[in-house]
């Protein structure tokens, strides 16, 4: 409890209220091991001022009353040989001792509880900080895992994009193929049209020429004879027709 009043140089951890001495831990100052917990209770003392070890030391030889008998004997010795001298200060010491002992007996537990409460609060604050840090770090770990999962999904994104690009290329290729086809077809059509035109023109020209020649070759003499022939033919035909009609 008296840690509240002691100032001892501490190392690193600023949030730990425990004032732990360097020599108490591992020798290197940057050790990562957790600090060992403080012992719960201190060394035991009998009547506040005599360490329990004396009693344990003398117990095998002299039993329970041994140290008390030793104390009484020592007291008698120093009083009788006046190694401790009874003077006015003895009275003052007796009065002070009484008051002190009365005070400690009466208010000891309360002061102890108060000091414990203060310590408890300090520890709790540090624990809160630690818990907060732990939760935030755990959250950070989860977020990191999520990010990693997201990064894995990037593969799908790349595949989709690759598909897009492939489709664009394909479309482009097909357009160009169409264009090529159309152009070639147009050129071929042109050649065909050209040839048909040629043929038609030749035909017409030939026909005209033949007609013209024939017409010019028909002399007037031939015209008369052909007309007379046509008339006689017609007359014959008419006669035949009449004959048929009356028969």
């Amino acid at each position: 409890r008296f840690n509240l009043f002691k100032k001892v140089p501490t190392i690193k951890s600023p949030c730990l209220p425990r004032l732990v001495q360097l020599s108490h831990l591992h020798t290197s100052p940057n050790s990562q091991a957790p600090v060992p917990a403080l012992p719960e209770k201190g060394g035991k003392t009998r009547h506040g001022i005599i360490p329990e070890e004396i009693f344990q030391l003398l117990y095998p030889k002299t039993g329970v009353t041994g140290p008390y008998v030793l104390g009484a004997g020592l007291l008698t010795y120093i009083l009788s040989k006046e190694i401790y001298i009874i003077n006015h200060e003895t009275f003052a010491a007796a009065c002070m001792g009484t008051v002190i002992i009365y005070g400690v007996r009466k208010f000891g537990p309360d002061v102890a509880a108060f000091a414990d409460k203060l310590n408890e609060e300090k520890v709790q604050k540090a624990q809160e900080v630690k818990d907060l840090a732990m939760t935030s770090l755990a959250q950070a770990v989860l977020d990191e895992k999520k990010e990693q999962w997201r990064a894995e999904g990037r593969q799908m994104l790349f595949d989709a994009k690759r598909n897009n690009v492939a489709m664009l290329l394909e479309t482009n290729r097909r357009e160009r193929v169409h264009m090529v086809t159309n152009e070639v077809k147009k050129r071929l059509d042109y050649q065909i049209a050209l040839q048909t035109l040629h043929r038609r023109m030749e035909q017409e020209h030939m026909v005209n020429w033949v007609e013209k020649n024939v017409v010019t070759s028909i002399t007037p003499q031939q015209e008369k004879t052909s007309i007379a022939k046509c008339i006689t033919d017609l007359k014959v035909l008419a006669k035949v027709q009449q004959a048929k009609a009356t028969a």
């Binding site: 409890r1 008296f2 840690n3 002691k6 004032l19 732990v20 001495q21 020599s23 108490h24 403080l38 012992p39 719960e40 209770k41 201190g42 060394g43 035991k44 003392t45 506040g48 001022i49 360490p51 009788s80 040989k81 006046e82 401790y84 001298i85 009874i86 003077n87 400690v104 000891g108 102890a112 414990d116 310590n119």
Partner: protein, 89 residues
């Protein structure tokens, strides 16, 4: 507790046998550094046993105060000798 042989100079006081006390004292380190080291060691041991605990009692501080009282009485004894009640004991 005979796990290994400890050289005499490093044994703790309670493990030294009476006959070896003289030679043990001779081996102890009385240079200033050694004296300081032993003081620091003793302080650490007392501090860690009685004061640096979660629920310390009054013993830790009370023993120091009693020790202080006793020590100051011893230092003043020459003055106090004159308050003795009898001359011959």
């Amino acid at each position: 507790m005979a796990d290994r042989i400890v050289p005499l100079g490093e044994k703790r006081l309670m493990d030294v046998k009476l006959g070896e006390l003289g030679s043990w004292l001779g081996k102890r380190d009385f240079t200033p550094n050694g004296v300081l080291a032993s003081i620091r060691n003793g302080h650490d041991r007392y501090y860690n046993k009685y004061i640096n605990v979660k629920k310390g009692g009054i013993g830790g501080v009370a023993m120091l105060l009693v020790g202080y009282v006793a020590l100051s009485y011893m230092w003043e004894y020459d003055h106090l000798k004159h308050d003795r009640w009898r001359k011959y004991h």
